[in-house]
C-alpha cells in the first residue's frame, strides 16, 4: 500500500469554532453511550467469536450500555476483529475498514489477532491485525472471557471520552490506509 499525503491539519483546526465545539461535546457524549460494533472474523477458530456473542447475550447483556452488533460497516463505530488475518481476508479487512465512517475504532479480541498466537509464522497468516490496519484496543486471551471483552469495551469508551477531538488524532494514525478526505462532518 502506498502512503497517501498527510491530511491538511491546519485547515481543519480553523474550522473548529464555538458552535462546532458544542457540537463536538454532544457527539462525543452520544458516541460513548452507543458504540456499535461490527464483528469481523479474520481467520479465527470461532472461539473468540462465540465469546463475543456470549458477552452480548443475557448473562452480561452488553446492550444495556448501548453496545450493539450491527451488520453493515456503514453503521459501525467499532470494528471488532478476531483472528490472525489470513491472506485471503486481508483485502476484505482493509475494505471493511475503509467503508466505516469516521471516527472509527478497532478492537482486537484474542491472542491470534494481537500477535498471530499459535498460528504465528504460518505461510498463510499475517501475524496480527495491526500488520494491516491500526488498532486501538487489544483484548488478550485464548479466548478472552466475556468479562474481559466487556472490560475492553469499557476501556474503549473511556478512550472515546478522553480523546475529545477524536477526528483529528484518529486521522493521523489511520492515514496509512488511504482515507484523507472530509473531516468536516464532525464539526
Amino acid at each position: 500500500m502506498e502512503n497517501p499525503p498527510l491530511v491538511k491539519k491546519t485547515l481543519q483546526k480553523k474550522r473548529v469554532g464555538i458552535f462546532s465545539r458544542f457540537g463536538l461535546k454532544i457527539t462525543t457524549w452520544a458516541r460513548k453511550r452507543s458504540p456499535w460494533l461490527l464483528h469481523m472474523n479474520t481467520g479465527s477458530c470461532n472461539g473468540c467469536d462465540i465469546e463475543i456473542l456470549a458477552a452480548l447475550t443475557p448473562r452480561l447483556d452488553a446492550e444495556r450500555f448501548g453496545v450493539k452488533l450491527v451488520g453493515s460497516p456503514r453503521h459501525a463505530d467499532v470494528l471488532v476483529c478476531t483472528g490472525p488475518v489470513t491472506l485471503e481476508m486481508e483485502e476484505a479487512l482493509i475494505q471493511t475498514y475503509q467503508q466505516m465512517p469516521h471516527p472509527k475504532f478497532v478492537m482486537v479480541v484474542g491472542s491470534c489477532g494481537a500477535t498471530g498466537g499459535v498460528f504465528k509464522n504460518s505461510y498463510n497468516v499475517k501475524n496480527g491485525v495491526d500488520q494491516v490496519i491500526p488498532v486501538d484496543i487489544y483484548v488478550p486471551g485464548c479466548p478472552p472471557k466475556p468479562e474481559a471483552i466487556f472490560m475492553g469495551i469499557a476501556q474503549l469508551i473511556q478512550k472515546i471520552e478522553n480523546l475529545g477531538l477524536i477526528g483529528e488524532e484518529k486521522q493521523e494514525s489511520s492515514s496509512n490506509t488511504q482515507e484523507v478526505e472530509t473531516m468536516e462532518t464532525i464539526a
Binding site: 498460528f119 498463510n124 479466548p143
Partner: protein, 396 residues
C-alpha cells in the same frame, strides 16, 4: 447464462456478512427470487495448521489441534490425542476415558444449544436465540469449573487428561442435571409449538436419504435424513460401550427435523453425563508416553457436527511427519449447496446454517496470482510436483 441475461442476477454473499459469524463467500445466482446456482468459495480461514503441525512436537500439536475449531475444540484435541496414543500403544486410564466422555458430552450440549440459537437468529426469532444462549451459560459454567476455561479447554494430554473431577464438583454437577433437563424441556416445547419456527423450517431444505448418501454427509445432518450411523455406538471409543444411550433418527431431512433431532440428542447427552457421573472409576488420570514415536494411525470421533477424522504419521520423531484433518463440515457442505437450488433467496441462510457449518475446520486454500488477480485450483499431480520443486530448492 447467455439466454436470459436480464433475469439472472449473481449475488456474492460475504466474506463479511451478518448471517454467519464466519467469513465465507457464497456465490448465489438467482432468477427472480429463486436460487438457480450456488457455489461456496472456501479458503478465508485457512491457516495452514497441517503444515504448522509438522514443525512442532506432539505435545504442542495438541494446542494447535484444539484451535482448528473453537466450538468443537475438545473433539479435535481428543481425537488427535487418541491417535497419538494409538501410535504409542499407550491407553489412557479408565478415569481419563470417563472424564473425556464427560467433557465431550458437555461440549455436544453447548454446541447444539449454540446451533439452535444461531438458527433462531437466522430465521429472525431473536428472543429464542437469547433464551437458548442464556441456558447455555449453565453448561459453560460447568465446563469452566471442570477444565478452567470456557472455550479452548486444554483438557487433554497424550496419555490422559490434565484436570481431575473433585468430589465436590461431582456433587455439584449431579445437582445441576435436573436443571439442565428442565431448561431443555423448555427449549423443546418452544421449538415444537412455535408457529414462526414451523413456518420457516418445515419442509425447507429437505435432504433426502438418497442425496445424503450421494454427498456423504455425516453427523446429525445424516441422522436427520434417515442414515442410522453414530460412531459412539457403531465404533465405540473412550468408554462409550459401557454407557447406555439411544441414537435419535429422523426420516424427513428438513430443517425442522434437524432442530428436533438435535434437541433429542441433547437429552441423550444429559443421560450419558448422568451415567458417567455415576460410574466414573477412581484412579490415575494419565499414563506416560515415550518421547519418540513411530507409526501411523487413523483416529475418528463423533464430534457435535459429525465424524471427525485425523490421520497422523510419525517416523521415529517427536514431530508428526504428516497430519491430516477432515472435519465434518467439509462432508456436509456439498449437500447444502445442492439443496439450495430451487429455494427462495430468503431461505439461503437458514439452509446453510442448518448443517451447522464450521468453516474454520473446513477451509482449504486457493492459489491466488496476486498480480493478475486470478484464482486457480491445483490438481493433486500439480501439488506433488510443486512440493518436490519446493523441497529441492530448499525454500521451506
Amino acid at each position: 447464462m447467455s439466454k436470459l441475461p436480464s433475469k439472472r442476477t449473481e449475488i456474492n454473499v460475504g466474506p463479511q456478512h451478518p448471517a454467519l459469524k464466519e467469513p465465507e463467500t457464497f456465490k448465489v445466482v438467482i432468477e427472480g427470487e429463486k436460487v438457480v446456482e450456488a457455489e461456496p468459495i472456501l479458503g478465508h480461514v485457512h491457516r495452514g495448521i497441517e503444515k504448522l503441525a509438522e514443525s512442532r512436537d506432539y505435545n504442542k500439536v495438541l494446542y494447535l489441534a484444539e484451535r482448528i475449531c473453537g466450538i468443537c475444540s475438545f473433539a479435535h484435541q481428543a481425537n488427535y490425542a487418541k491417535g497419538v496414543e494409538m501410535i504409542a500403544e499407550v491407553e489412557a486410564p479408565p478415569r481419563a476415558q470417563y472424564l473425556r466422555m464427560l467433557v465431550a458430552e458437555l461440549e455436544r450440549l453447548h454446541s447444539h444449544m449454540l446451533w439452535v440459537g444461531v438458527l433462531a437468529h437466522e430465521i429472525g426469532f431473536d428472543t429464542y436465540y437469547l433464551l437458548v444462549w442464556k441456558d447455555r451459560e449453565i453448561i459453560m459454567d460447568m465446563l469452566e469449573d471442570l477444565t478452567g476455561n470456557r472455550v479452548n479447554y486444554g483438557m487433554n494430554k497424550v496419555g490422559g487428561v490434565r484436570q481431575d473431577l473433585s468430589p465436590e464438583l461431582k456433587k455439584e454437577f449431579i445437582e445441576k442435571i435436573p436443571l439442565i433437563r428442565e431448561k431443555l424441556e423448555e427449549i423443546k416445547t418452544i421449538a415444537l409449538e412455535d408457529p414462526t419456527i414451523k413456518a420457516r423450517c418445515n419442509n425447507v431444505g429437505i435432504i433426502s436419504g438418497e442425496l445424503a448418501r450421494q454427498t456423504c454427509v455425516t453427523g446429525p445432518t445424516a441422522r436427520a435424513s434417515g442414515i442410522n450411523w453414530d460412531l459412539r455406538r457403531d465404533s465405540p471409543y473412550f468408554a462409550y460401550d459401557e454407557v447406555k444411550f439411544n441414537v435419535p433418527i429422523s426420516e424427513k431431512g428438513d430443517v425442522f427435523s434437524k432442530i428436533v433431532l438435535r434437541i433429542e440428542e441433547m437429552f441423550e447427552s444429559v443421560n450419558i453425563i448422568e451415567q458417567v457421573l455415576e460410574m466414573i472409576p477412581d484412579g490415575e488420570i494419565f499414563n506416560k508416553v515415550p518421547s519418540r514415536l513411530n507409526g501411523k494411525a487413523v483416529s475418528r470421533i463423533e464430534a457435535p457436527r459429525g465424524e471427525n477424522f485425523h490421520y497422523i504419521d510419525f517416523r521415529e520423531s517427536k514431530q508428526p511427519y504428516r497430519m491430516r484433518v477432515r472435519a465434518p463440515t467439509y462432508a456436509n457442505l456439498a449437500s447444502s449447496v445442492k439443496v439450495l437450488i430451487g429455494h427462495h433467496i430468503a431461505d439461503v441462510p437458514v439452509i446453510v446454517a442448518a448443517n451447522d457449518p464450521c468453516f474454520s475446520c473446513t477451509d482449504r486454500t486457493l492459489v491466488i496470482d496476486k498480480d493478475r488477480g486470478k484464482k486457480k485450483l491445483l490438481t493433486k499431480e500439480q501439488l506433488r510436483l510443486l512440493g518436490i520443486k519446493t523441497y529441492k530448492e530448499g525454500i521451506l
